[in-house]
Symmetry: C2
Subunit: 344 residues, 2 copies
């Protein structure tokens, strides 16, 4: 029996006090007298417990998954709001809540950290929060936003030295990064229907264009939402790499880049598993997230991605084990160590 | 026997004099004394003929397609360069060349017009060029750039009234628009590996968010490159529309939105034809375009998309006829009229 590890969960169901605090913080940007202190936010363990037990944990039990890698709500990271100090206070609060959830439910939730990114600010300013999350909270990965501007794409590509301070820490701690943008404040891009998928596609193409993994051979990136448009256009990406005289994608990027299974219908999951090697696919649902409804064509939740893996005629039992557990433990070595310490 | 109509071809092989003229025009933006006149560009019919016979027409014969809907090179539209006058002169030159190709090869090439868009300029300024191309050149469609800024996405979404002057003319002339961006001048976005696909996904999501087809029930949009990420994430898009209390996609957008077959591998084409109704799929290759090489896994050109349609086990012979000819004639009524006038 595999452990079923969902590598992509966000705390989308945090008690309302969190959002109220954030709104006050945003008000405080214009009116410093209104700026709340971090200590003003009071959320009890019982409130945390209830927000999880009635939501993520309930669905995990219903659907049969064991562990969720749990990070702050992606759309609420909103790195474009305020300056570094605003992001820093907000990231600290959100990361602490995910940590507390992981201590309340140590068998089911493992923290992944958001970073206090801010547009135009050197990413090395994120290192103290990153180190705190790894050393004190036991974070096993980070979420890295390639566009902290929120849809204006004003940062350099991920292959630029701009990002190297983060990569050095990722290499030092053996931490993978999920490449995950946040809310779009560009009216052209719907957050979950365009900006997220575009960012996935964009990041993958940046990695093809560059040679980042020559400088950081152990770096691991998880591209969420099934890799955006990438598997569907796998021929295009192979062909573009060829035009650019890059090595085959297998060696150029696929030792370092992984896709999750947040693709919300059977034909999409089947395509993913037709073109992307099993070793590069990690189970995830992003539940409870952008698509919460029931698919009228199946009667099941769109984001119950385990059903699509189970129903796959492409994957063997061993393949499924790799996707549910083996690959996740390999890509997240600190998760593997944590599980081994718990005899799992 | 179907006519094989490729609805997505660009004049990527124009004689070098065109690019030289454009470079001079760009130099002329900073140095008005260097600005060339349109009449300075001299390209003979023989040069046009050779550029087509040795390239697109040769491959059309080899691969067995009959007609290409032919528009100016997409990446060279570069609407972000200069002002409206610069775009206007450039669009006129490029459209005239495609028209001349269509007169030299009337059985094989049919013009589609680019528009003289310019960032921040009212789209109604494009109407005179659009009308000239329809009335004098016999253009059967237009290419509409949802992001004339070239990767900064500073225009409003396609559902905004900003774009209505174009839509009114499209409705008046029964002209479909292919939604096609141009070169990215944002370093984050590779032009053909990210910006094109992102624009396709973005446009589709904008159409889901809005209710444009209530105002323009006959409007037809062709989303190229197989619809970007859309078919792969069909469950996500259905689910997001559901969250937004929109009608089912079938009625909300799929009477007005069509996808081409510019997907450069068999599993991608198979996914397209698994999830998207046959009536919404139009044959295209975008040959000679972004991906010109031979796929080492098949020994065939990546962009020889007819092979994937031929090899499809999902499509019946009648389905293939619709994709090759029937749907293209229905979506491009002015093409249908032109073919009927030629007894085809």
């Amino acid at each position: 029996m595999s452990l079923i590890i969902d590598c992509h969960g966000h705390y989308t169901t945090a008690p309302k006090a969190l959002e109220a605090w954030r709104n006050q913080q945003i008000a405080g940007i214009k009116d410093p007298a209104a700026m709340p202190r971090a200590a003003d936010l009071k959320i009890s363990d019982d409130e945390l417990r209830e927000s999880i037990e009635t939501n993520q944990l309930r669905l995990m039990k219903e659907r049969g998954s064991d562990i969720t890698l749990f990070s702050p709500r992606a759309s609420f990271m909103a790195h474009h709001i305020g300056d570094f100090n605003v992001s820093s206070t907000w990231a600290a609060i959100c990361n602490e809540l995910c940590y507390r959830v992981s201590t309340l439910f140590p068998d089911n939730f493992v923290p992944v950290a958001m970073l206090p990114q801010s547009p135009g600010v050197d990413p090395k300013t994120c290192i103290p929060e990153l180190e705190k999350c790894v050393k004190e909270y036991g974070a096993v990965g980070i979420n890295l936003n390639p566009d902290p501007s929120g849809g204006h794409w004003t940062s350099p590509p991920l292959t630029d030295r701009h990002w190297y301070p983060i990569y050095e820490k990722m290499a030092e701690y053996d931490l993978p990064a999920m490449i995950h943008v946040s809310t779009s404040c560009n009216a052209c891009f719907h957050t979950t229907g365009a900006h997220y998928l575009n960012a996935d596609t964009t990041a993958f193409m940046q990695l093809i264009q560059g040679d980042l993994f020559k400088d950081f051979p152990t770096l691991k990136f998880l591209i969420p939402h099934g890799g955006g448009a990438v598997p569907y256009h796998w021929g295009r990406f192979r062909g573009l790499a060829q035009e650019m005289k890059k090595p085959l994608l297998d060696t150029h990027v696929m030792n370092n880049v992984f896709f999750d299974t947040c693709v919300y219908h059977q034909p999409g999951i089947d395509l993913l598993n037709t073109v992307i090697p099993v070793k590069n696919v990690l189970f995830a649902s992003e539940m409870i997230g952008a698509v919460r409804g029931i698919d009228p064509t199946t009667g099941n939740y769109y984001d119950d991605t385990k059903r699509y893996i189970e129903a796959s005629k492409i994957l063997s039992a061993e393949d499924k084990h790799q996707i549910y557990e083996g690959n996740v433990r390999r890509v997240f070595p600190r998760l593997d160590a944590r599980l081994k310490a718990r005899n799992k």
